[in-house]
Assembly symmetry: none
Homo-oligomer: 403 residues x 2
């Protein structure tokens, strides 16, 4: 991809609309019965009718052979080098439970845990306390510890024993060793800086843990906490700044809303179904020029190893596609962030099927949208980070480079 | 490819086995008679049966249009950037005649030559003296000059007038201008440093040449020597360190054993035939998790311009393939380091046919392994250096990048 400054000189402002549909984990692997992938097994007449008029290819999210997490895989699709812009675990967790983050923030994942009087951790998950108990304890902690040394402390419960702690203040770096000893029968590790710049965060964290232990001391089994994945908000230029786009995100899950907000997209309220999401697209269609629509369940069922349920989600997506086509977007892309083959029950390194429809493509004439056909597509096997310049070009939003 | 530190964080240790078969110079060009390449002309039912279940592509060893030597072409396949890790000619020559090198060593190629009393070089190859004479003279030089200023001198004969000089000591850099004037009728060039750090090597080399001239003064026509291609052992991280692999090399030719040892592979004793090599694989199959098997003669006959003999070697490889398949490796790759089309009688820039079989590929269903089919493979045309991450991924030896 061209570097930012070169690209920005080429940006052209117009009213054309780009719709990027990310079916999470869509790419699959052949099942043993008949050698068909999830995409091959799904009946999807609307998508296939679009595919035949589209340009197709396979995208490599990060690099050959590399299995991406959702964070880097999405950043690539949004046109950001996922190696340059790395998102820490704490930030992803915070985004995932719906916390807003600013560039001054450091987030960490936390667990309630059980500590015996001598200080040894006897249960790193405090017996997986119920979520209701977790909510109650987080509220207690938040009330008792609103700030430390001028650093705002924000606490948000997750499920069971998991919660997130966010430190908001000036001069906080993002590096700190985990305090979680990873095994029972050891003591928690005191917050330890990697570099000199991390000393402030280390001191604040140490005070936070000491105060929290006071608050929790009679709350057996959840009488202490362990922290890991300290990470600072990555200071990413917005899609508006980089690509001149007024971008909106339509996603039902907090993690993906959070990722979209990291790159400056506006989050649109939507429902849980694909139809809800497409209805949201219709409602806001005049207000933005780039729409990211996230479909989660292709990935969820892939993770579950449920081939047929994943096929069913693809069929639901296809059933709803006329709602998108009716809007007649100037550029329409269907792809995945990464593959989640049901056979592997997890993310994989396999490249993503990718189709782009616009009035300006040389249609590949492939009669069905699937991994094998995409391998024959004229885009070839290409880096996912190049999808954004391709979308911009097809929306006539990029001028000529050089004279 | 991800940089070392990122990749190393992803490494997963398991027992899965990777077998990389490098048929040197395998890629070819169509012959005029019927337009078939060597691979297309060869009957190879076993390989083709494997190809139909594999993922295929074409690898670019260095960069588009660049014809590689064996050194950089192999480094790429081993997962090392061949531009970052350049192996000097002297080192390759030393490896090629079976000298072991350490990171303290500098190697240079040397020729016996004829000098007339005034110092002019009248024959840069000393009339191509017989190899026996070369051996005798090298033994004399070695006996007379075991070391200079604390730097050990190691001399090893090659064929005809060619030999290798290896300097082993501390503080030796790898840069020195050639002493070979490249034309007869000129004097030899005094050893000259490129940079200040090269002065020690320049001084040692000057003394070595002066002493060698004394030893050789009555040995007309081989009464002097010329040196070129001074090069230091490249300090390359081992495959174990970079990729977590316990790697072994099965190669009959010294150059390839040497290249494998440069990246820390264990050299396994083997015979001259492909069957010998595959038998060695079987014998050591439980002891390593990565096997590099080098097949030389595809390249040799390519260099000779002998299309039919090259086809015959491919057939021999195919005949022996059941010996490999019987071991059921988790990942099996067949490719070449570079192309050596018989029609060109030499290495070429053409990308290499590449096939990878594992239980986790999306099979391309291509019914024969050859250059044209590989161009339709879903891996596309990709950098050879990415082959290693792909092999690791397919062996489930790489974890997830990011969350």
């Amino acid at each position: 991809m061209l570097d930012d400054s070169l690209l920005q000189e080429l940006l052209v402002s117009n009213d054309k609309k780009i719709v990027l549909i990310v079916a999470d984990g869509l790419g699959g692997l052949p099942r043993e019965r008949d050698g068909q992938t999830e995409l091959e097994a799904a009946a999807k007449p609307h998508i296939d009718a679009l595919a035949i008029k589209s340009v197709c290819g396979l995208t490599v999210p990060i690099s050959y052979g590399i299995t991406p997490g959702s964070g880097p895989a999405h950043l690539s699709l949004f046109g950001y080098d996922p190696i340059k812009y790395q998102i820490g675990r704490g930030v992803l967790e915070a985004l995932g439970i719906g916390l807003e983050m600013t560039p001054r923030d450091v987030a960490a994942r936390a667990n309630f845990a059980t500590m015996e009087p001598g200080g040894l951790i006897t249960d790193r998950r405090a017996g997986r306390i119920p979520t209701e108990k977790n909510m109650e304890l987080c509220a207690k902690l938040q009330a008792a510890i609103p700030a430390i040394d001028g650093v705002e402390v924000i606490i948000r419960h997750g499920k069971e024993h998991r919660f997130v702690v966010l430190f908001r203040g000036d001069g906080l770096s993002g590096n700190l060793h985990d305090t979680d000893p990873q095994r029972e029968g050891l003591t928690a590790i005191a917050p330890k800086a990697f570099f000199e710049e991390d000393l402030k965060l280390a001191a604040v964290t140490a005070k936070f843990i000491a105060q929290a232990n006071q608050v929790l001391k009679d709350q057996h089994p959840a009488n202490t906490l362990l922290m890991r994945g300290f990470a600072k908000h990555p200071d990413i230029p917005s899609m508006n700044k980089r690509f001149g786009l007024k971008a909106a995100a339509i996603a039902a899950y907090p993690m993906y809303k959070g990722l979209a907000k990291l790159v400056g997209m506006t989050e649109l309220d939507t429902g849980q179904t694909i139809e809800d999401e497409f209805e949201t697209l219709r409602l806001y269609y005049n207000d933005f020029d780039f729409f990211y629509i996230h479909i989660k369940k292709t990935d969820s069922y892939g993770e579950d190893g449920d081939f047929n349920a994943k096929v069913q989600v693809i069929t639901e997506l296809d059933d709803a596609m006329p709602m998108v086509s009716k809007l007649n977007p100037d550029v329409l892309v269907i792809t995945s962030d990464h593959s989640t083959p049901a056979r592997m029950k997890g993310h994989s390194w396999h490249p993503n099927p990718f189709m782009l429809y616009s009035p300006y493509v040389r249609p590949d004439g492939l009669d069905s949208f699937n991994e094998r056909n995409c391998a024959y597509g004229s885009l070839g096997c290409f880096p996912a980070v190049e999808a954004m310049p391709l979308m911009l070009a097809n929306a006539l939003k990029l001028g000529k480079f050089g004279a």
